[in-house]
């Protein structure tokens, strides 16, 4: 089957700097595709370019066979692409429930219908639903960021470094949650935590200096200590 999301030779300039220099990625209709790479490699920029926050200066982005380059971010979001940014993007002065309401793209009724399952996955959020989101712990904020995506019908999730800044025990919980999500939705995941990435990921791309330098199945990367060492700095 053809891939759900396809980037062909995508280039992105930010303030005159050539950040993405021909990224080609295919995200299949199921499973977790992981973007790996060192700090500053261009992983976040890749996600933000897909989402329309950066306009590609060259190449093509196709979602479900539709070319979406140059679309405004809200139209891309409305296709059913959910985004969890690196900093979680929580609205801190809004309550947990209000955060979900903003995310309720398909209407409050649809959201209410999905809420029970979401609260089952993240019981903390149910208890804290009237609490200001800014007062949640880092882990709870990550849960809320994921929950916001689950209250509407989405077709693809883009998640940027969900483990960053979290205690190891919380990282495990986030990993569990994403493993749960991947049963229902394809995910494009950026993750620096190699352990977590290798546990959840099915396919990978390694990005270095704005280019894709390697790709393959996650389990095959295990057998490539040289690549891991060179591009990810993972000790062998």
């Amino acid at each position: 089957m053809n891939p759900l999301l396809q980037l062909n030779e995508v280039n992105t300039h930010i303030q005159g700097f050539h950040i993405l220099q021909g990224i080609s990625i295919q995200v299949p209709r199921e499973g977790v595709t992981v973007l790996l790479g060192r700090n500053g490699a261009g992983k976040t920029t890749t996600l933000r370019t897909i989402l329309g926050f950066n306009t590609p200066s060259g190449g093509e982005i196709k979602f479900d066979e539709k070319v979406i380059n140059g679309w405004p971010p809200f139209r891309i979001g409305a296709l059913g692409i959910g985004y969890v940014p690196e900093d979680r993007g929580i609205f801190g002065s809004l309550t947990v429930y209000e955060n979900l309401k903003v995310a309720a793209r398909d209407g409050i009724r649809e959201m209410e219908g999905r809420l029970e399952k979401v609260y089952q996955l993240f019981p903390d959020l149910k208890r804290a639903r009237k609490q200001q989101a800014g007062t949640l712990s880092g882990g709870q904020q990550q849960m809320l960021a994921l929950a916001r995506i689950l209250v509407s019908k989405n077709r693809l999730l883009l998640i940027d470094e969900p483990s960053s800044g979290l205690a190891p025990i919380i990282v495990d919980r986030v990993a569990e949650a994403i493993t749960e999500l991947k049963k229902e939705l394809p995910i494009l995941l950026v993750e620096q935590n190699y352990n977590m990435a290798s546990k959840i990921g099915d396919n990978y791309y390694i990005i270095d200096q704005g280019r894709c330098v390697h790709e393959g199945r996650m389990e095959d990367l295990e057998k490539e200590p040289e690549i891991k060492q060179r591009y990810l700095g993972v000790a062998v």
């Binding site: 405004p72 809200f74 940014p85 993007g89 609205f91 801190g92 903003v102 793209r105």
Partner: protein
């Protein structure tokens, strides 16, 4: 101490504060959401006063004057946002100069249409007179302004907290990119917020007419105090704009009575104190320097 004079100054200050609030709340929301300092806000307050007066004189209906002021502001606000603001979006310096320039043009335009002198905006008959509480005299019209301001305050508060659009506006103040990722067309939200903010200023002008009189300088006088109120209360915070405005209104009223020469200085001193002690304003979050 708590004599007639005190209550008079209090009511005066509250009425003034409510008028400032009608300007400051929109100014603050628009800046918080769009990062635009809309200098035309005071000019729309002024235009609201002229338009409201003309409608009142033509129809003899104060209700129509209020509705007219509201509608005039909403339509003009939407047009200004779509035609003038949107093309320059993202360029803060250009936007600053643009709204500043529009303010100057509007303040001259009004003199061409209605002349430079102060015009009388008569009170509707039912607001003539005063409520007597012992020997305390409370003019009906000032009480009306306070009541009207309170009503707007409650309605806008409920809108911002209970409706999805209102919640989206508050979310956009924090992170408008994230709002867009949920499929929301933030530009439409911008237009609506701008129009709403301008309509509040304009209706504020309309009800200010019988209290302050109608003349071109009310634009400049009020935009300055409204900006101070926004800074004192905390940029982008609705509650802050309420607190800042009432504080400024009361200080102007009492300060203006006891030390008229220093009335404006009190406001500036208050702002300086707040910025020294709490740079983000009384209710603000990030601080002035943290603007995106």
């Amino acid at each position: 101490m708590f004599d007639t004079l005190f209550f008079n100054l209090l009511l005066n200050g509250l009425a003034h504060g409510m008028l400032i609030f009608l300007i400051a709340s929109g100014l603050s929301l628009i800046f918080g959401l769009m990062r635009v300092v809309n200098f035309t806000h005071g000019s729309f307050f002024m235009f609201g006063a002229y338009v409201g007066r003309s409608i009142f004189l033509a129809t003899d209906s104060f209700v129509l004057a209020i509705l007219g002021g509201l509608l005039f502001g909403f339509v003009c606000g939407a047009l200004v946002e779509r035609i003038a603001i949107r093309p320059f979006f993202g360029n803060r310096v250009q936007l600053l100069l643009l709204t500043l320039g529009m303010m100057l043009v509007m303040n001259e335009l009004v003199k061409i249409i209605w002349g430079p002198t102060i015009l009388r905006f008569p009170r509707p008959d039912y607001f003539i007179g005063s409520f007597m509480l012992g020997d305390i005299i409370l003019p009906y019209y000032r009480m009306f302004i306070v009541g009207f301001g309170l009503a707007v305050l409650v309605v806008v508060y409920l809108f911002l907290n209970k409706t999805r659009l209102g919640i989206i506006i508050r979310a956009g103040v924090e992170d408008s990119d994230m709002v867009q990722s949920f499929g929301i067309n933030i530009k439409q939200v911008f237009t609506f917020t701008f129009a709403l903010g301008v309509s509040l200023a304009s209706v504020g002008g309309a009800i200010s007419g019988p209290f302050l009189g109608v003349y071109p300088e009310i634009a400049m006088d009020n935009i300055l105090v409204a900006i101070i109120a926004v800074v004192v209360g905390g940029i982008g915070s609705f509650g802050g704009s309420v607190a800042g405005s009432l504080l400024i209104g009361l200080i102007s009223s009492f300060g203006g009575f006891y030390l008229p020469q220093a009335a404006m200085a009190f406001n500036v001193i208050l702002m300086a104190l707040v910025l020294l002690i709490r740079p983000q304003g009384l209710f603000g979050k990030g601080g002035l320097a943290s603007g995106r």
